[in-house]
Assembly symmetry: C2
Homo-oligomer: 188 residues x 2
DNA sequence: GTCTATATCAAGATAGAC
DNA sequence: GTCTATCTTGATATAGAC
């Protein structure tokens, strides 16, 4: 949060980027400090100065993912037009934004943490719990809202594991369908 | 397929069960041959007689998962009442059945393979591709069908990573909502 | 703040006895 | 078909120089 005075990214950011990139390339369980250090352009010593242990690195990857999604959601809160199932719509939009740009890589932190030490996912657990109660309480149609949210989570999960069979057009169509479901609900 | 003459499970089955169990307990990236051997009740030598390499074990875990889901789907094909989006309904039902019993553990094979060697997920990729074209072609309402399928996949993904915030009642409600979406479609 | 060197340990795989 | 070594590699983490 404080690192942006210089034009260059801080070492921490470069390291987190490198780690997230590597997960997809070599597998979440093969993420080694050596590989991260090389990709980030410093030595293992330099890496371990920034993150005392591998768990600390993974924890930071998780936290960054959570922060980015949260920020994305709040950005949509400011720009989205009001309407039914507003809170769920924000979640869906934020999830969908994980398909593009840096966010896509950032999500790999979850895979890496899950592989190494499932306990590190505790913060994610908590966020999902909050989102669930939020959607349940604030939605005009909670069932449609949960289906839409889960659908984009499913989409993201497949993308994260690199097994998504969906083309970009498919994804656009699904995104539209999810938004329509949020607006109109399930037919009766 | 041929191992069921004796009352006992074959060694291969015991090994696959042990491996699937361990993934959730210690993390997909920490799955070691030693741990699997101990849990399965044999030595590492015995384990490596059954599976020449760790990749072979992971590949077998993946294949078993695919086979079980496929079998579940075909079982539903025989018993489910006909109706709209029939093919999608089978997929949704099969996915939902992964929440119970042995199936739940079996799905962990995907995590283990993803951690160790993402290429091992290729069979999963192919199955998902087939399911997608199937649902697209055979559904009266492809958009509703895809949303319902993705929603239960999202549910499974969270369960697989042990980050699901959904209670059993939640899951029942979501399952019902997904089925209703398949029957009635999105409101217009 | 980053580097090299190294200690320590765990994991996959092999060989051969039973 | 299963067991007990053992080989070899690679990965985390530490210590201390620059």
């Amino acid at each position: 949060m404080l690192e942006c005075i210089k034009g260059r990214k801080s070492s921490r950011e470069k390291i987190l980027d490198a780690a997230a990139e590597l997960v997809r390339e070599i597998g979440s369980g093969r993420l080694t400090l050596d590989a991260v250090a090389e990709r980030a352009g410093l030595s293992k010593g330099g890496l371990l100065y920034n993150f005392k242990t591998k768990d600390a690195l993974l924890q930071a990857m998780i936290q960054r993912m959570i922060d980015e999604v949260q920020a994305e959601k709040e950005a949509y809160r400011a720009t989205e037009a009001p309407g039914p199932n507003f809170e769920a719509r924000l979640c869906v939009m934020a999830c969908l934004s994980m398909r593009k740009g840096k966010m896509r890589e950032v999500a790999n932190g979850m895979l890496a943490a899950s592989a190494e030490n499932p306990n590190l996912l505790e913060p994610v657990r908590q966020v999902l719990g909050t989102v669930l109660t939020d959607i349940k309480q604030k939605s005009e149609d909670p069932e449609a809202a949960l289906l839409a949210w889960l659908a984009v989570e499913g989409l993201n999960s497949m993308a994260m594991h690199n097994i998504s069979p969906f083309s970009d057009e498919d994804c656009g169509m699904i995104a539209d369908a999810a938004k329509r479901l949020l607006e109109k609900g399930i037919a009766s």
